[in-house]
Symmetry: C2
Subunit: 525 residues, 2 copies
């Protein structure tokens, strides 16, 4: 089924320039060649996406929901070829990829359900007040509409859940936006399979073919052309800080700038409070090591920073963490590039005069293996050197030894924006935690107590976002139902009659969407 195609609307195309995936477990190039999309392909896909906008964004919610569910069904129907292709391209184990497939389909179904509810329209009707003095009031109505075609850049670390049909695509579809995906070059076969599934769902649902296009490729120029295309109205991105910032800059330089939702960089501090540390240092150290090393540490929410009181309890924590990390047979990382960046990041910490290595983990002669690495430093050294706040993507973490709670607070105050922060507390820590929590919430998208940040629930209350540099737009989330609001904007209709009004705002609520009329929610039909 995989033949290295570019998919533009209903068409598939091959270009002369080919690229290849690499099996990171062996560094061997895989056999299938993949066409690299060109700037001309970008223009064609974006024109088609623009054409698809009116019909797709105006679809009745139940019809758009059916389409989103059909995407999930088509992904399920690919079967084991999807899992095996992803395993070969990413080095991720079968169980993880099967779980991720379930999460991806579940996420599509969650958005479909949310679309049906219609709350995202935020329909508000303020009827005319013809007798108001001194001037009558016009009839004013408002609802959210799709922003237009969205460019999606998937991540390498979730080849299904944050890639071609991942959260950005699902939430853009939910909002009524056609999507043009720049395929990630690390998993092009996986990407093509999923792209074909979406293409088949578009056709099966009788939608305009421009609702979806898939442009694989390896060059920055391809992504740049996509973000610069005047028909693109928003960008979803998950990846590195440098990659995200490059897209933000490109989008800002357009004649008409557009929002970029880039999820970029986070070291996810874990603050281990004294009573918790005293009560369960060993258990916390072991659990921390498990969270740090999960999936070779290749999660945005990987706990890369531990902030704790120095002393005997912290030594116990470190001993347990080191024992757990040293027991790990080094897992393969996603790509040679990611492995090289990890090795370089670890070397940087090793050569920093203010840090010491606590654990080196097992070494491996096999390709692209991740040896967990644990470092320590002092609070003053951490606060003095921004380099120590830099994310090392993989299973590396830094423990910041603090003299007292005041120093813990100083370190927290010095933190950049983060996706998550975690407090480990016992009852005796509540008072100190109550002071820290208001500070933490100004710096993160999600605060956890006595958990671990890896593992992001796909649920309405989730926020997978946070202040810069965790994301480029701290008002948003890329996981959970709220993610679709990134691709909507409000439009007001003043004295527009029923014939011309969009369906959700007409006198008769044909779609049965929630509406606030004169300040009060209409009873549901």
């Amino acid at each position: 089924m995989i033949d290295g195609s570019i998919l533009i609307g209903a068409k598939k195309r091959h270009n002369d320039e080919l690229f290849y995936a690499i099996n990171p477990a062996t560094n061997n190039q895989l056999a299938q060649g993949f066409s690299a999309a060109t700037p001309a392909d970008v223009i064609e896909a974006c024109l088609l996406a623009e054409e698809a906008c009116p019909s797709f964004s105006g679809l009745e919610p139940s019809k758009r929901a059916q389409f989103i569910e059909a995407v999930g069904e088509a992904i399920a129907a690919i079967g084991d070829e999807l899992i095996e292709t992803a395993m070969a391209e990413t080095g991720l184990p079968r169980a993880r990829l099967e779980g991720e497939r379930g999460r991806t389909i579940g996420q599509l179904n969650m958005f479909a359900a949310e679309v049906r509810k219609g709350e995202w329209l935020d329909a508000v009707i303020d009827p005319a007040l013809p007798n108001r003095a001194p001037l009558p009031r016009a009839d004013v109505r408002r609802m959210n509409i799709a922003v237009g075609p969205v460019a999606v850049f998937g991540a390498s670390n979730f080849p299904l859940a944050f890639s071609v049909a991942g959260g950005d695509t699902a939430s853009a579809f939910a909002a009524g936006c056609p999507v043009v995906v720049k395929g990630h070059p690390a998993h092009p076969g996986t990407g093509e399979l999923v792209a074909r599934a979406i293409q088949s769902a578009v056709a099966a649902c009788g939608l305009h073919a421009g609702v979806f296009s898939y442009l694989p490729g390896t060059s920055h120029a391809l992504g740049a052309a996509l973000v610069a295309d005047p028909r693109i109205k928003a960008v979803g991105f998950t990846g590195s800080r440098s990659g995200g910032l490059a897209l933000v800059q490109l989008a800002a330089q357009r004649k008409a700038p557009i929002p970029v939702y880039a999820e970029m960089s986070s070291i996810n501090p874990v603050i281990v409070m004294p009573h918790a540390l005293a009560a369960r240092a060993t258990a916390l150290g072991t659990a921390f090591a498990a969270s740090l090393s999960l999936g070779a540490g290749q999660f945005c929410t990987n706990p890369g920073l531990v902030i704790a009181l120095d002393g005997a309890d912290l030594e116990t924590f470190i001993t347990a963490a080191r024992a757990a990390l040293d027991a790990i047979e080094p897992p393969v990382m996603l790509t040679p590039v990611i492995h090289a960046a990890y090795a370089s990041g670890v070397t940087t910490l090793d050569t920093n005069a203010a840090t010491s290595r606590l654990s080196g983990g097992q070494q491996s002669a096999l390709a692209n293996r991740c040896s967990p690495a644990l470092f320590e430093t002092t609070a003053s050294a951490f606060l003095a050197d921004e380099a120590l706040s830099t994310e090392v993507f993989g299973a590396a973490a830094l423990i910041v030894r603090c003299r007292d709670i005041a120093e813990i607070t100083h370190v927290v105050r010095g933190l950049e924006g983060q996706l998550t922060a975690t407090l480990q507390i016992d009852d005796g820590d509540n008072q100190a935690a109550a002071h820290l929590l208001p500070l933490l919430q100004t710096r993160v998208g999600r605060v956890l107590v006595n958990g671990w940040p890896t593992g992001v629930e796909v649920t309405p209350a989730m926020v997978h976002g946070g202040p810069f540099p965790a994301t480029s737009d701290g008002r948003t989330t890329s996981v959970g139902t709220l993610a679709m609001m990134r691709f909507l904007r409000p439009v007001c209709f003043q004295d527009v009659g029923d014939v011309l009004l969009p369906m959700p705002l007409r006198s008769t609520n044909m779609w049965g969407v929630p509406r606030k009329v004169s300040g009060t929610w209409e009873p549901r039909a």
Copy 2:
């Protein structure tokens, strides 16, 4: 009561450097000198604002609402000094300023009511699922929190409703954000009176003094220092395109970039459809002239572009518009700078080879008077020259003569983002309008039918925003209840116990705010 003070929290201060307001009706400098704030004042105000954040953002909704209402009461209590000061500083007539004062207080009261409702918290609770397989689900809760201190830059054209206590300040307060206002140098006395009213309300309500500071001044450096201050987390601005874009660029260059909500530039196209034009050309021409010349055309929503079928009916429309415009005794504009820019914009249109002057209006020997100016061009000329889409702030408009509906559609397709677009239609125009409307709604924040865009209702359904360059962020509005959402962001709390949770998310809903629990809204207490 006015003494030219800078207000930083509860303190007032005078600096050596003074500036003066000008009465635009006479070009005479007014007597009162006003202290110009310095970069040191910026730092002090921002530090204080940051200090005020935890208590102000965590206030019970009813308490914050009381404060916002107290601001309105304090403004009302200033009495006629406010109106007379504003008249002298802006040249605006008494009735307009009294109306604007009512609008400003009404807007504060609207936000107070919205704060009390608590919907802005968007509180969502997804309870733990301890028995879920294969893994239990944590307890996940989400609510909106204030982004932090907000910098507000008021507009010269609404010295009350879009200035010190205008929509940006009111909506930031509503969201729980302390505000630092950069006072507009054209109406410093008006600004100081209102700033003192806010300062007194902060004190009367027992709030942290850092909730509000007022920094008057004339230099770009002052505004730049404010936007660059790391404690400022968002910016509200109403003014010129160049001014707005400068702030956007400054905010993007910060170590941690922040959102800038700049309302900048719009020519507010009015599309007069053929049946409407045939049925009521004279009435439409007269009404258009009234909207164009209202307040010397100094409204963001001023109709600066008319798109219509060429022919005898359009001549009738033009004749009526010209007669109405020629009857106007030229009103005074807000400032010498605005008047000079208007004169320059009119000259640019006069010297453009593709435009002709239809009406020159009466001329005046008095200072800073606005002679209405009406121009015409062809659709092809309009589409070929971006300069013809440039806003001329004041009572100048361009009529685009189109050969047919297809050419009208082409012109609409060529439009940049706008605050508003207006359709003038009769029944016979419905079919053509139904094709135009989906196109229009992608380009504007508000679509009107058979009305005029000047006059922006302060009501929940209002959108005073639109795609770039109408604003720098087309997902937002600066008027209406939705404006407060600009200054909020979601935060998620995972497994955080009642003791540490913010009040709205605790088990017992002490504040009685609307909450969605397990996907369903809780019944109101």
